[in-house]
Amino acid sequence: MLSVDAIDLHYGAAQALRRVSVTAEIGKVTCVMGRNGVGKTSLMRAIVGHQAISGGKISFGGEDISKLRSEDRARAGIAYVPQGREVFPLLSVKENLETGYAPLPRKERYVPSELFDLFPVLKSMLGRRGGDLSGGQQQQLAIARALVTRPKLLVLDEPTEGIQPSIIKDIGRAIDYLRSKGDMAIVLVEQYFDFARDLADTMFVMERGEVVLSGPMAELDANQVQRLIQV
């Protein structure tokens, strides 16, 4: 589905990614781990088109999307839950969800009710402005908003950050469920090793802008991974 092929990424003259390659399959969870500042977010930005790459190639469903604008990638089916939530602060919760209608055909413009089963708090706060929500509530909104677009590829950058344990478990179950539906590839950046290990089909570990370890979760040595993300 998604294939990131030896990409480079620069901020000004500083290089944040070096020949990073990652793939993600439909019906699978691909997990990216690594310490602070190793380039996980940069990789996600490159995938969704928020940051231009300076080398390599990104293809999605067989097509080269390296040059596509972010909005066209979204229309192609890539949804993004960014680190730091980035909900629209002055739009109500309902409106935040409705921004996900943009790439949808008219008849699909509704909020799937499963979302409210997953995040009941959102249902009770539909009229509240996104910016007024608590941190964890915003995180839930950001995930729900991404799902409204019915993506083929869901990019989650630390989705459990700031979320209460019970809901983390729910999110885990949700990701599991989404995988099981088999119509979506999921890329997950995560810091909780346990959480990642439980979900990941494939794992990529990064260090200083490079992928240093990768493979099917089942085949990786958990200790080695943990060592890499240790300080």
């Binding site: 928020h50 604008r69 972010s70 909005e71 949804a79 002055l90 910016g131």
Partner: protein, 528 residues
């Protein structure tokens, strides 16, 4: 005053009585003398002698269709035929050296008075009312007999009231009228109760009896009291009207600045473009389709919207889109654009004012109780309300409205949601500019259409948007109305200059109390 003693004679039914031919000769000589006092005298003579052609001649004179020269005096009919003024006979050829007999205000007043007398028995009720008004103003005693006849015959209630008031205006100043009638006249004037009635009452001559004077004094206090109330209402109306002008001027900015965050110094020029579009439309209509003139504004509206919106889109695509995330630089760029647009218009249309006319439905005024309401202001208020409503609906009820707000709040995230940010940006800026263009159509009705038009509204527009609270359309509405009404309530006391200074100080102080405007956004969301 013109003697109209025998005015009845002028009625076609009584056309037998004839004045002296010498007097008539004098009148025609005087009409040819090209002097205002001679013309005045001529009118008097024609009326006094009940010249059979008097009505026709005077009407022609009023319309500038009375020509004189080389001893001849000629009436040009409305359809362009030439008649001998004296006889009414058609002329075969135009006598040489004719020129229109000139008028000044003095002559015009006399004509009005004369026509007033002449029109009192006109079959058209509207004309009778107008004639009665003219008599009311001229207070010409000699019309009294005709007036009384007219009142006797009158069946139309409105016309009757007007005639009675005219009669009262004459009687009150007529020393030898029966005291009872004069007292009744005071009542009639009090009933009328407007500024003109007041003026007429005040003109009561010093000879009046004490009873009459008492009645007059009471009537005056009565009217003044009522007028004072009406005046407050009138000031509120003016405030509303000024507020709607401010709203129109600012509302486009509420989009480009309020919603998009572009410090749009070229906003005023968008208004200007709307006004010039109106000018061009009218120019084309004047030269090609004169019959459409009353529809000129309706035609101009969509065009002005389109022109301003397209220019707006061009500006957005050409310049502004490179500046998102750098709002302050939009100030620099749009300032530059505003200079360019001003000079472009100056080069294309010249530096001077251009004439934009008012269609019939926007001209003049009517009275609503004691309120004098001008049609153009009324329409502008209605128009402002419509524009506001439409815009609110677009922003709140349509998907594009939601996308606009999403894009401005977080452009990158919006694009990650699949929103075509470029298109939304262009449309939003186009919408704001287009609305400014609409404002231009309205403002062309009350202000200069010149290259400076935009400059004179830009500061006020920013004040309104900011005062109301940036990013809130309702704030812009309430802000505009508050400032408009405050301004108009202050003006009678402080004068226009100090009033404006006071208003600015008020804004400064108000912002201290509400540092984010009238309709401030509160809470975490704002800081986020």
């Amino acid at each position: 005053m013109i003697a109209l003693a025998t005015l009845l004679a002028l009625q076609p039914s009584a056309a037998s009585a004839q004045g002296s031919p010498q007097a008539a000769d004098e009148a025609f000589t005087r009409l040819g003398a090209d002097s205002f006092s001679d013309t005045n005298r001529a009118i008097e003579i024609l009326i006094a002698n009940a010249h059979p052609q008097a009505a026709i001649i005077i009407e022609a004179l009023a319309d500038g269709r009375l020509l004189a020269g080389g001893g001849a005096v000629v009436v040009k009919t409305k359809d362009g035929k030439l008649l001998d003024a004296r006889t009414g006979a058609a002329l075969a050829s135009e006598p040489p050296g004719l020129g229109a007999v000139r008028l000044n205000n003095g002559v015009r007043r006399n004509i009005q008075a004369a026509l007033g007398g002449l029109g009192l028995l006109n079959p058209d009720a509207g004309k009778r009312i107008a004639a009665a008004e003219a008599v009311f103003k001229s207070r010409d005693v000699s019309v009294l007999p005709v007036l009384e006849t007219a009142i006797g015959k009158e069946t139309d209630t409105r016309a009757k009231a007007a005639l009675r008031q005219a009669q009262a205006a004459i009687l009150i100043a007529k020393a030898d009228a029966p005291p009872f009638d004069r007292l009744a006249a005071v009542d009639v004037l009090r009933e009328r109760g407007d500024q003109d009635a007041l003026a007429t009452l005040r003109s009561l001559p010093g000879d009046a009896t004490s009873a009459l004077k008492d009645a007059q004094a009471r009537a005056i206090t009565d009217i003044e009291g009522k007028l004072a109330l009406w005046r407050t209402a009138q000031n509120l109306w003016y405030g509303l009207s000024l507020g709607s002008v401010l709203l129109l001027a600012a509302i486009g900015l509420a989009i480009t600045f309020g919603v998009m965050g572009v410090i749009n110094m070229a906003h005023g020029e968008m208004v200007m473009l709307g006004a010039y579009t109106t000018f061009i439309v009218q120019e084309v209509i004047r030269t090609r389709f004169p019959g459409l003139f009353d529809y000129s504004l309706a035609i101009a509206l969509p065009l002005a919207f389109l022109v301003a919106a397209l220019v707006g889109i061009a500006i957005e695509r050409g310049v502004i889109r490179f500046l998102y995330g750098r709002p302050l630089e939009t100030l620099l760029a749009t300032w530059g654009i505003s200079l360019i647009l001003q000079q472009a218009v100056r080069t294309a249309f010249g530096p001077t004012n251009r004439e934009v006319g008012a269609p019939a439905f926007m001209s003049g005024a009517f009275d609503l109780g004691g309120l004098a309401i001008t049609w153009n202001r009324l329409w502008i208020i209605v128009f402002a309300a419509l524009v506001f409503g439409a815009l609110l609906a677009i922003l709140k009820l349509t998907p594009i409205g939601l996308q606009m707000r999403a894009v401005t709040q977080n452009r990158r995230m919006a694009s990650a949601m699949g929103i075509r940010t470029g298109r939304v940006d262009a449309l939003t800026f186009g919408l704001g500019s287009g609305v400014a263009g609409l404002a231009g159509v309205a403002l062309s009705q009350i202000d200069n259409v010149s290259p400076n038009l935009g400059q004179s509204y830009i500061i006020d527009s920013f004040m309104v948007v900011v005062f109301g609270g940036v990013g809130n359309l309702w704030g812009t509405l309430v802000g505009a109305m508050t400032l408009g009404i405050a301004n108009k309530l202050l003006e009678p006391y402080a004068g226009a200059v100090l009033g404006k200074i006071a208003l600015l100080v008020f804004i400064i102080l108000f912002i201290q109390k509400r540092p984010r405007g009238l309709f401030a956004q509160k809470g975490r969301a704002v800081e986020a």
